[in-house]
Symmetry: D2
Subunit: 112 residues, 4 copies
Amino acid sequence: METMQHHAQHVQICFDCAAACEHCASACLREDHLQMMRDCIRLCRDCADFCKMCGSLTARDSEFMMKFMVLCADVCDACADECSKHDHEHCRLCAEACRRCADDCRRMTVTA
Amino acid sequence: METMQHHAQHVQICFDCAAACEHCASACLREDHLQMMRDCIRLCRDCADFCKMCGSLTARDSEFMMKFMVLCADVCDACADECSKHDHEHCRLCAEACRRCADDCRRMTVTA
Amino acid sequence: METMQHHAQHVQICFDCAAACEHCASACLREDHLQMMRDCIRLCRDCADFCKMCGSLTARDSEFMMKFMVLCADVCDACADECSKHDHEHCRLCAEACRRCADDCRRMTVTA
Amino acid sequence: METMQHHAQHVQICFDCAAACEHCASACLREDHLQMMRDCIRLCRDCADFCKMCGSLTARDSEFMMKFMVLCADVCDACADECSKHDHEHCRLCAEACRRCADDCRRMTVTA
């Protein structure tokens, strides 16, 4: 019970991050200075997929979820670093969501 | 602004439903009377994928999201109908999440 | 047997199209005239996800696969139309893969 | 050019494995002795998602693809080990596809 609660929180953080990344990638594609957003779009695309998969594996209680979280945390860090270089509201919100997800992936693997 | 708020709520409902379906499919696979859970596992698997995609397309503000929601609502209904036949807590929670997602897909397509 | 063969071919066409779209979106993001590639990146992203899901539902023999194919064919058409406006090799290959996938989605729904 | 060819082959092996896993999970769910197929369904579900993501990251030429392949190879091994315990044609074909994908993930990471 404790454990499911614990997992449910991580699942939500992952999917929130995926949503922020999907939104940020689309919003970046509509920005005026598109050249500057190349890396942001690229990383948001990867990070969205990693976080959707991380949320899914956690909700499934998959035996591979812990190893996946180690990698997912690195992807979230890379996306947060890039997003935090830009002033757009969608980039700021995405960076925050990515930091939270990276932290929670690490919390999960430490307390496992 | 109004619209993004509106969309953010739908995205969360979709991903909540995906999480409930992923969890229900895994939990069903561990149940004693596995024969009775065949359809539930099968439908949860499809519904999880539909809801993850519905959440993603909505977060992206994709031009295909409305047509996708029409189909997603039907998948959610089918999964809710099957889950509501079973007494397991995970099935009950999944049926609720599926009903909510089906309703919200329809609300989105009507107010579009 | 006949049917599985039939399905296996569609699954491969879907995943080939997904691969072409994933590659095209990434390659477009590296092009010099990025402003011209906005729609191509956006549509390739959606089309990649639709085709992965179409291949998955078909391989599963999901009850929702036929309805999904109707929608997937439209997404493939939209992506093919956009890709065919550009001279890049990755766009040309992607347009071809999308046309093939749209046609095969329609063949599947007609012969169902 | 050499490199893209190299990558294209890996992408196809990943998606072939994903297709075999999706099909095997569905076919297992319809088998008479369902109790014996629990682990096979569970692992095929994870392996299908890992291989779709591995194929996508490779087609994108993502900076995270090599680290992902290391993990994907382990998931493919686990699925192949389980599938090879069963006599069903779909399990045999799935085990073969998983072995091929595990080997090719390792080939990619070694030659990187």
